[in-house]
């Protein structure tokens, strides 16, 4: 009653909707970077929205099934195959015991979410099955999957059938010219007015150092700081602050040069100033950005952030209704 991992892909981890509640001790919430896509994959195969699935980045794994299951792959476009026969994305399909699930090359997006009927049945740790590799916590032995792993599956609830799809208008991906909405704040006052304008005017590119902890960006103009005498304990660089908490989605700019957006496996605090935070509604999109992808930051106010959050909730509700 398990999955046999033949090839793990680049980095495939068990993820669910995360482990909130321990950030004050340095344990981040983890969970799927693109929560909407994991939710869609789960609903397609008859699971609870936040059941544990697999998150595969840039390259899919190769998995032999040891029981019959219903499977759906959402998020990045990385065509799933059953015994070599291509299957549609965002659509449920059957896999029989002994068959092998594999993937074609990545065409768009960055992370594919594999929902399997029943869900992955690794032990709950602090309320979640998500993997936090830096802390060797949760998931399958606290790490990304390796060849030869046997990953347990829970019993399906039943009721779902193959061939159901998520309607195209209910899929949300960043597209060719992604924009991330940002609420300026935190230590925004540390940069000059001109630097603040440049930050939102410039086109930034995702750097190769982009992972579950944070996404780094390059290519925009360096930020100039408002001069000050550094406060005691902050450190000498103008981008240093007395070590503080880091919100999820916060954008720190060490040395004023390369912005880093912290994501689900965020370091919980440190000594770099932040210009603000990406709004909650756009966090999913970051998980689908590929390295070198040109990206714009768009300045918004709280009202717009809350409207966007409402839109995302409405989308989730429609997704749930369409697959119920």
């Amino acid at each position: 009653m398990a999955l046999e991992i033949l090839k793990p892909g680049l980095s495939t981890t068990v993820q669910d909707h995360g482990r909130p509640g321990y950030y004050h001790l340095g344990i981040p919430e983890s969970g799927a970077m693109d929560r909407l896509s994991l939710t869609a994959a789960n609903l397609l195969v008859g699971n609870e929205p936040g059941a544990a699935g697999l998150e595969a980045v840039f390259q899919g794994p190769e998995i032999r099934f040891q029981r019959d299951a219903l499977v759906a792959v959402c998020g990045a476009e990385m065509p799933p195959k059953v015994d070599g026969i291509e299957q549609a994305g965002w659509t449920s399909f059957p896999v029989q015991s002994g068959q092998v699930l594999s993937f074609g090359f990545l065409k768009s997006g960055a992370r594919a979410y594999i929902g399997i009927s029943g869900g992955i049945d690794v032990p709950m740790v602090l309320g979640s099955r998500s993997t936090y590799p830096l802390g060797a916590l949760g998931g399958f032995e606290g790490r990304p999957l390796k060849s030869g792993d046997r990953v347990p599956l829970a019993l399906p609830r039943g009721g779902a059938r193959p061939g159901r799809s998520v309607a195209p208008e209910l899929r949300r991906m960043p597209g060719k010219a992604p924009e991330l909405r940002v609420l300026p704040g935190l230590y925004w006052h540390r940069v000059t007015e001109e630097a603040g304008r440049n930050f939102f005017d410039d086109v930034w590119k995702v750097a190769p150092e982009a992972d579950r902890i944070g996404y780094r960006f390059r290519g925009g103009r360096a930020l100039d700081f408002v001069p000050r005498k550094q406060p005691f304990g902050a450190g000498s660089d103008p981008s240093n602050i007395v070590d503080s908490c880091y919100p999820y989605g916060s954008i720190q700019v060490p040395g004023g040069t390369e912005p880093i957006i912290l994501h689900r496996d965020a370091v919980s605090g440190g000594g770099y100033f932040m210009v603000g935070a990406v709004i909650s509604a756009d966090m999913d999109l970051i998980g689908q950005l590929q390295p070198h992808q040109p990206t714009r930051f768009v300045k918004v106010e709280m009202e717009a952030a809350l409207r966007a959050r409402g839109d995302r909730s409405a989308l989730l509700a429609r997704l749930g209704e369409s697959l119920s």
């Binding site: 909130p20 344990i27 005691f232 919980s268 909650s280 709280m302």
Partner: protein, 290 residues
């Protein structure tokens, strides 16, 4: 002056002071306790930091503006803290100048301000100590407050309980290392730390402790109840040990026999400001059972 700012639509960030001080830490800790006690609807995470704190909330349950108003109300309420803290003091063995951090600091020497010496030589010199022994005596002489837990799982940031002019201050590495041994005792800015896991790091490295402080498998005898040892407000006293004592402690940890000395203490900020040396002496007396 306390400064409030939203961090996206789910966080409020509260900076008690721009600069670090025990007073700022105490105010941050007491405000986070007040938030916890007030049970404001919609609060999902309460994270105290050195001189600031952060609240995560669900804006579908409480409007951001209302959350902000609640926090400001708590700040202006009659002080939740009288400047006293019931906490614990823990003695932590440190093998200063150990071979593992030494090997690592040599490997990353080109990223350091002073490639000719070691991190200890450098820290001793720029803080005005005659030699490394005098520096270690200062580092392990006065206790430290755990002023924040985070960065990675269970890592304590520590602020030494001495007057500002005696605070040890060092810059971080010019470029961060990609490796730091697990349980390295480090220092950056005015903060000490213990690296809970192996990984990247930018703090100067002074030594290593045999005492695990994070154990996700919860096999360590004193981490069976919870996988993380420290919490903000803990008081730490370092005890220098040699190689033999370090090896013996590692063996004890593996055999499940290691029990760090821990004692209940109460701390008064006012008494500390009046006479830091006497306050610390009293704390150490509790630790050593005198």
């Amino acid at each position: 002056m306390t400064r409030y700012s939203f961090g996206g639509d789910e966080h409020i960030f509260v900076e008690v002071e721009e600069e670090m001080s025990l007073d700022a830490f105490f105010k941050s800790l007491s405000m986070t306790n007040a938030v916890r006690d007030s049970k404001i609807r919609g609060v999902t995470e309460i994270c105290p930091a050195n001189a600031s704190f952060q609240i995560r909330f669900d804006p579908d349950v409480i409007k951001p503006a209302d959350m902000l108003a609640e926090l400001k109300r708590l700040e202006s309420a009659p002080s939740a803290s009288d400047g006293t803290l019931a906490t614990r003091i823990i003695e932590i063995p440190v093998y200063y100048n150990d071979p593992w951090t030494h090997e690592t600091l040599m490997r990353f020497r080109e990223r350091h301000q002073d490639p000719a010496g070691t991190d200890l030589d450098y820290a001793a010199r720029i803080n005005g100590y005659g030699d490394v022994d005098a520096f270690v005596a200062a580092h392990s002489g006065a206790p430290w407050f755990v002023s924040m837990v985070g960065f990675v799982a269970g890592l304590p940031f520590m602020y030494q309980m001495v007057e500002r002019k005696k605070q040890i201050e060092v810059p971080k590495y010019l470029r961060p290392r990609t490796d730091t041994p697990k349980l390295t005792v480090g220092h950056g800015g005015c903060f000490g730390c213990i690296y809970s896991v192996r990984g990247a790091g930018g703090y100067q490295m002074f030594g290593i402790t045999p005492m695990p402080i994070y154990d996700p498998k919860q096999e360590t005898s004193y981490l069976r109840d919870f996988m993380i040892f420290f919490k903000p407000g803990d008081i730490v006293k370092f005890k220098p040990v040699d190689r033999d004592a370090y090896d013996a402690a590692v063996e004890d940890v593996e055999a499940g026999r290691f029990n760090p000395p821990i004692h209940r203490v109460s701390f008064s900020l006012e008494a500390f400001h009046a006479d830091p040396a006497a306050t610390n002496a009293k704390l150490l007396k509790v630790l050593h059972g005198a």
